[in-house]
């Protein structure tokens, strides 16, 4: 394919001036984009994580990493099996995922609605934008005692906290992208007699989608981080709860099991969002390719 292209190109524009070339000269110019990341290779996003695992394994095996610092991968695997069989690890993962997905869903919905309201109306902006910026600068950890007072120590406190944490990146990125939409599209929509609802659906939301998806990547990650915090409060289940207990009993291997689970979830979730991104934004021509 590439060779054929190069051959036809050579007929038209020889790479070397004819006076210096001894005869027909193959065109050796590179036909793909010279600047930019180059063509996409399959499964390339696994390379980094697998390399990290390899370093960890080799380090533990050779004794560079002492078990007191970081449990070796095979011991973590053993601990994982132990937790899975004897301590209902699957159930704990399920509980944590449910909290995180529920909170994330609420946060995403809330973030988008607030971003659109504040992005498209001055009243909305006056009411919404300030409080969101204030909320942004308050550490969530500092808010939890308040939430405990408001919502108790049950599930609603946990889900609400995660929803509020995830709302922020969704709001900020969606709002930013929305305000960045070319004003000429609004002008076009006006000349086409498009109503407000149709305008939001056809111009605002698709135009803000790149920002929303970036926000979603942040939100997915912080929804998992939020678990660690909320599950320290009166939990009977969940990965955060398991890790809190392990911390009290000094079980490093269990903590590492928890960390690995977090890492894997975060990585998978981010990969999923990026796949969505690539499909949903196929109308763009970017360096992503």
């Amino acid at each position: 394919m590439t060779a054929a292209t190069a051959a036809t190109r050579a007929d038209v524009a020889p790479a070397v001036p004819p006076s210096r070339a001894g005869g027909p000269h193959p065109d050796v110019r590179v036909v793909r984009r010279r600047l930019g990341p180059g063509p996409r290779t399959r499964l390339s996003f696994w390379v980094g994580p697998l390399l990290l695992l390899a370093v960890w394994a080799v380090g533990s095996w050779a004794g560079f990493i002492s078990p007191a610092v970081l449990t070796a991968p095979w011991d973590v695997a053993k601990e994982f099996q132990n937790q899975w069989v004897d301590h209902d690890l699957l159930g704990n993962i399920g509980t944590s995922l449910r909290r995180s997905v529920l909170g994330l869903t609420l946060g995403v919905l809330g973030g988008v609605v607030l971003a659109v309201a504040s992005g498209l109306s001055r009243v909305g902006e006056a009411l919404i934008d300030g409080p969101i910026q204030i909320k942004r600068s308050i550490p969530t950890l500092a808010l939890i005692p308040l939430f405990v007072a408001w919502f108790g120590i049950g599930e609603s406190m946990k889900v609400t906290t995660i929803a509020l944490i995830t709302l922020i990146p969704i709001y900020v990125n969606t709002h930013n992208a929305l305000r960045g939409i070319d004003g000429r599209y609004a002008e076009l929509a006006e000349t086409l007699d498009v109503g407000r609802v149709e305008f939001v659906r056809n111009v605002v939301l698709p135009g803000a989608l790149p920002g929303f998806l970036l926000g979603l990547r942040f939100a997915v990650t912080v929804s998992l981080l939020g678990l660690v915090v909320v599950e320290q409060f009166n939990s009977e289940s969940g990965i955060g709860h398991v890790m809190t207990l392990a911390q009290q009993y000094g079980q490093t291997s269990v903590i590492v099991v928890g960390l690995v689970i977090y890492g894997v979830f975060g990585f998978l979730a981010d990969t999923a969002v990026r796949l969505i991104e690539r499909r949903a934004l196929s109308w763009r021509r970017t360096l992503e390719g």
């Binding site: 599209y185 002008e187 006006e190 000349t191 086409l192 007699d193 989608l209 109308w283 021509r285």
Partner: protein, 264 residues
């Protein structure tokens, strides 16, 4: 002051009626100062003028896109108005057919969109993304989007300004054909005198905030070698403040003068 050999010839109610239109962007002076203009139904009017004489301001006033501009005056336009911008202004996240039917509320919107795309020579490209189109194709799609609404008035703001010369000639033919079929009144803002003569039934030149010149184009042939083309061009260039010897040697280098090509 102004010459008015053109204007309305029938007693038919005009499609566009503008009276005493004032528009200004700052206190130092108005861009439009008491402009009057009538456009008959189905009439193709080209608006010429040096830069800053308010061509686009007039068009935006007719399109209802100048809510933030100071001014007053009387404007009557039809209900169905379409605008073609200099950039094609296709929504990058919509495929071509969805761009054409955007805002079209009709049960057969898709069918009409397909037909409009076929009319501008883009049949089969319904599912293309805007970034896949060339400049000429994008502008043709934007014409299709305007005409699918069956406008009574088509407002075009230098629609071919960003296209190369060859594409522009093709677009002229296309626009003329489309206007013959759909018969909208057209107001075409352009800085290209030849384009105005080739396309329009009537040409107005703006200066000093009003219509200074208003001429009817009565050529048997719409080509630069047609009898009378060169005289009309020289006349319009003169009205635009371009001197005749400049018109011959500077504006159109290498182009045969229409007058010398057709000895009478």
């Amino acid at each position: 002051m102004a010459t008015h050999p053109g204007g309305l010839t029938s007693t038919e109610a005009p499609a566009v009626r503008v009276r005493d239109l004032h528009r200004s962007f700052n206190r130092s002076g108005g861009v439009l100062e008491g402009l009057d203009l009538d456009v008959a139904p189905g009439e193709f009017v080209a608006v010429l003028g040096r830069s800053g004489t308010g061509k686009s301001t007039l068009l935006r006033a007719l399109a209802g896109l100048d809510r933030d501009v100071d001014g007053y005056g009387e404007i009557e336009v039809p209900v169905a108005v379409s605008v073609v911008f200099q950039d094609s202004r296709l929504l990058p996240w919509k495929r071509l057919l969805d761009n054409v039917t955007f805002g079209l509320r009709a049960p057969d919107a898709d069918e009409r969109g397909r037909r409009a795309l076929a009319e501008v020579g883009l049949a089969g490209r319904e599912r293309a993304w805007p970034y896949e189109l060339s400049g000429g194709e994008a502008q043709r799609a934007s014409l299709a989007r305007s005409l699918v609404r069956e406008p009574q008035l088509l407002l075009a703001d230098e629609p071919f300004g960003a296209l190369d010369a060859l594409t522009r000639i093709k677009m002229h033919e296309l626009l003329r054909r489309l206007c013959e079929v759909h018969r909208p009144a057209v107001l075409l803002v352009t800085h290209d005198v030849d384009e105005a003569i080739v396309l329009a039934d009537r040409i107005v030149v703006l200066d000093g905030g009003t219509v200074q010149t208003d001429v009817r184009v009565e050529l048997t042939q719409r080509s630069p070698v047609a009898p009378g083309f060169g005289e009309l061009r020289d006349f319009l260039l003169g009205r635009l403040g371009v001197q005749e010897h400049l018109g011959a040697d500077f504006i159109a280098p290498g182009r045969r003068r229409a007058t010398s090509a057709t000895p009478s």
